[in-house]
Amino acid sequence: MHSGSRPQQQARASETPPPAPPRHRTHPTPLHPAAWWLWSLSLGIAATRTTNPLLLTLLIATSAYVVAARRPHTPWARSYSAFVKLALAVLLIRLAFAVTLGSPLPGTHVIVTLPEVPLPDWAQGIRLGGKVTAETLTFAFYDGLKLATLLICVGAANALASPTRLLKSLPGALYEMGVAVVVALTFAPNLIADIQRLRAARRLRGRPDSGLRGLLQVGLPVLEGALERSVALAAAMDARGYGRTADVPPRVRRTTNTLTLGGLLGVCAGTYGLLTAEGGTYGIPVLLAGVTAALAGLRLGGRRTPRTRYRPDPWGARAWLVTASGAAVAAALAWASVHDPAALHPGVIPLTTPTLPLYPAAAILLGLLPAFVTTPPEEPS
């Protein structure tokens, strides 16, 4: 356990800190990843406040513009198109359900009448086929579009700042857990690459390379391979010092445990209080106390890990601006949804043409700010 502090002492002894940290940077400082995530998620929250297709489309366009202008040239930035496809699929599935399952909405504009499948008594309340009305479809479209917008916003966050970059900003005590999560996340892409490779290899054995049986047969080797790779990665991480701990006095350790456990209990109790009707009075204070204690525990727990951070992303004025622009959009739409619900939730019964409410639309355009205040991504070398 003594070895944890040795390198620091060595390093300090042999290498006196320079008078000023090296400031010159050949590359523009990237924006703090958390700023991108907050901005994207704020747009997502804004999307949940409205079903107006014009506003939702405007939200999608805003995030897409920023992504197109500012996403880095990295493989994970390409995940945006995957999210867009997923969003489209969600929208289509939602519409397909509306057509086949019908809906309790009392619509009058019948577009087509599908043959209704008679269902047994126990499936009462479920309808297969039957009338498809314009109202049902419109409602499903609005609803699906809202979900799709939310997904696209998450995709934008992913494309602009990969989750692994977020990891760097995690407090020391949580870092190791974070690494485990990230390693687990990279498991999936590797698995897909393996499946593709092994299915191709089936062709070399003279077996069809498509079909479910093919997939099942490569299943075991793929899992074996993925497991072996994970073990190899774990070995490499161990050999590179992952999980080194520093010596801390037992008193500090006990305090940490008490604070963290107590804090988490406080959070649970506080949340319960908030959610139940009679707990309204003690809910918020207990929750706040719990969060404070848990945070203090985390901070103290960070002492046990000697980790330092290489070039942490600075949280500067631009990060504030980006976050603020997202927050402004979310706040504006939340405010509008209360004060002008008619414009943000266009009527379905009776069918009305959605109009573009001026102020909320202008507010959404605030979300374009990051495309102008941040630096453009570097060209690939």
Binding site: S3, G4, S5, R6, P7, Q8, A11, R12, E15, P17, P18, P21, P22, T74, P75, W76, T164, K168, V179, V183, R197, L198, A200, A201, R202, R203, L204, R205, G206, R207, P208, D209, Q217, L220, P221, E224, R229, A232, L233, A234, A235, A236, M237, D238, A239, R240, G241, Y242, G243, R244, A246, T305, P306, R307, T308, Y310, R311, E378, P380, S381
Partner: protein, 579 residues
């Protein structure tokens, strides 16, 4: 610096210790090469330095391993991370983060170095390894050589006093390997880093070694000595040493330069021998056609050749005179991996070596020939059919590919089941595949039928995959990087097998970085660069003309065109005209 005191390691479930009686010391600031045939426990020794054996792998370690005075028994790998850096065989499984700069910093972050120290060391390491232009690049977009350098850099930044490398150049093309080795030499010379390294391709690394630790066989004691001493007794040796033994030079030369300085006499003898037969220049110069090649094969190189396949395997008759034809083939995938306007014809009985940098398009070309990748433009005909439109069941009778990782071909959990499945896939008589396995590798008879393919050695696994492919008797056989991880003995066996197959009329294409293998068995060499064919001709001409793809023998005996020790041996051993 690194000290082994009577170490033996027994893995859980094994009856015999994997290594025993290991007792040696790697002095500070030296580069020690660990050599020996496959399966003698080299990786076990390497991993016991970093503490991964036994802390991570399990098993029992007897004796004592100390690094910089720290006993690995009481120190976990993570507590040795500041004195030992370990790079395994596959750099991709080593990376934790996803960009070059973060990867270099990762180890230091774990050790808790202050930020300004980290910043400086990252810059230094970027310069030292020539990675400055790649600093912000995602690791997955780098080439094999670049990845290997990043892996080495990532363990260098904590300034370890010892570096452990397991086959650092086996997956690299000759130029990338030299890049990596130059870096290692700089570390030893300039920073005084101690390096313990295992490598099968001795011809690449032997000149950098200060000492060699030899594991002659499983369970045999390790011996440590200067490269010249060890090479005199070693069962594994590079071609330059082989040539030195043939020519009777003492002390043995270890580098091409040493050998060249002594070779004037040998060159003269060879010129005479060749001149007396008036065939010296023609024999290698006309290696382009299989006929010439068959007559040219030196008799001494074929004593092990038996009628392995002749009775059982005859390639099915072809409608086309060519095993495969590729016309103006272009493939556009990502900008880095593509083929542009490739035209190539393969005739039965010829062996073609496909060479070029990592990522030059060798694997893409092989994959196109088996229909895994449809051509973007141009045509591909394999055995008269369009590969990507032919049903797999039909295609395996025309072309077979052994992929880079032979394990990809194997699904079953025993050798017997694998062979049965191969017979069924190819509609061959039951037992065909199993017989092939034994023919390819006589040593395999000793391996029980219920062994899991995973537990085979690299050479055995390759033999099994090759047998599975050959069960369908394809007239065109493709091998992607077959010698990765093979020791010299396994490589020699593979070469003999491929020669036999070629003599039976199989057309063979192998994508390889191994210049010695290409020199030994290829009639024709095709060089690829950036997806284009830049040279296509008889092996002797193409290979000798390129400094990085020339085998050692041709470098030593230039300007005469000799490629392998076997040729030289034959010329010296049979001075009279051949009957």
């Amino acid at each position: 610096m690194i000290r082994f005191e009577d170490v033996s390691v027994t893995y859980d479930g094994a009856t015999e210790p994997t290594v025993q009686g290991i007792d040696f010391e790697v002095p500070e600031g030296e580069l020690v090469l660990l050599v020996g045939p496959s399966g003698t426990g080299k990786s076990t020794i390497l991993n016991s330095v970093s503490g991964l054996v036994p802390h991570f792998t399990g098993g029992t370690l007897r004796g004592r391993v100390t690094v910089a005075g720290r006993d690995t028994r009481t120190h976990k790998p993570r507590e040795l991370a500041d004195v030992v850096g370990t790079v395994g065989q596959d750099p991709l499984s080593h990376f934790v983060t996803d960009t070059v700069e973060d990867e270099l910093a990762y180890g230091m972050e774990s050790l808790g170095l202050p930020p300004h120290v980290m910043r400086r060391r990252v810059e230094e390491t970027l310069d030292l390894l020539g990675l400055t232009d790649l600093r912000a690049r995602p690791i997955s977009t780098l080439s094999g050589g670049q990845q290997q350098r990043v892996a080495i850099g990532s363990v260098l930044t904590p300034h370890p006093r010892a570096l452990i490398l397991d086959e650092p150049t086996s997956a690299l093309d000759p130029a990338a390997a030299e890049e990596v080795l130059a870096v290692l030499q700089r570390l030893v010379h300039d920073l005084g880093t101690t390096i313990l390294m295992a490598e099968h391709r001795l011809e690449r690394v032997i000149q950098y070694a200060d000492q060699i630790a030899l594991l002659p066989g499983p369970g045999e004691p390790l011996s440590l000595g200067t490269p010249a001493e060890i090479m005199a007794v070693s069962p594994v040796y590079p071609p330059v040493v082989d040539l030195g033994r043939v020519a009777g030079w003492s002390p043995l030369p270890l580098t091409v330069r040493d050998a060249r300085r002594r070779a004037s006499d040998l060159r003269q003898r060879l010129a005479q021998a060749a001149g007396s037969r008036a065939a010296g220049a023609a024999r290698v110069g006309a290696g382009g056609t299989p006929q010439a090649r068959a007559s040219e094969t030196p008799p001494t190189a074929t004593p092990t050749r038996r009628t392995w396949f002749r009775s059982r395997i005859t390639p099915s008759p072809l409608p086309s005179p060519h095993a495969a034809e590729v016309q103006a083939l272009s493939i556009h995938r990502t900008p880095t991996r593509a083929l542009t306007d490739v035209t190539l014809t393969l005739t039965p009985g010829e062996t073609v070596a496909l060479m070029g940098r990592n990522g030059a398009g060798k694997s893409t070309l092989l994959n196109t020939l088996v229909g895994l990748i449809p051509p973007t433009s141009g045509t591909v005909l394999t055995g008269g059919t369009i590969p990507h439109r032919t049903p797999p069941h039909d295609l395996i009778r025309r072309v077979g590919l052994v992929p880079q990782e032979p394990r990809d071909l194997l699904y079953a959990d025993t050798i017997a089941a694998e062979c049965e499945a191969a017979d069924a896939d190819a509609s061959a008589a039951p037992g065909t595949c199993r017989t092939l396995v034994t023919d390819l590798l006589p040593g395999m008879t000793g391996v029980p039928d219920d062994t899991h393919p995973r537990d085979l050695s690299e050479g055995q696994r390759l033999a099994l995959a090759l047998a599975v492919v050959l069960t369908a008797r394809p007239p065109l056989l493709l091998l992607d990087e077959p010698t990765r991880g093979l020791d010299y003995a396994a490589k020699a066996r593979l070469a003999a097998v491929l020669k036999t197959l070629a003599a039976e009329g199989h057309a063979i294409v192998l994508a390889t970085h191994d210049v010695e293998l290409a020199a030994e068995i290829a009639d024709r060499v095709v060089l690829l660069a950036d997806g284009e064919i830049i040279a296509d001709g008889p092996a002797a001409d193409v290979v000798v003309a390129s400094p990085s793809f020339a085998p050692q023998v041709s470098k030593i005996l230039a300007p005469q065109k000799w490629l392998t020790v076997a040729q030289v041996k034959a010329a010296l051993g049979a001075p009279g005209p051949r009957s």
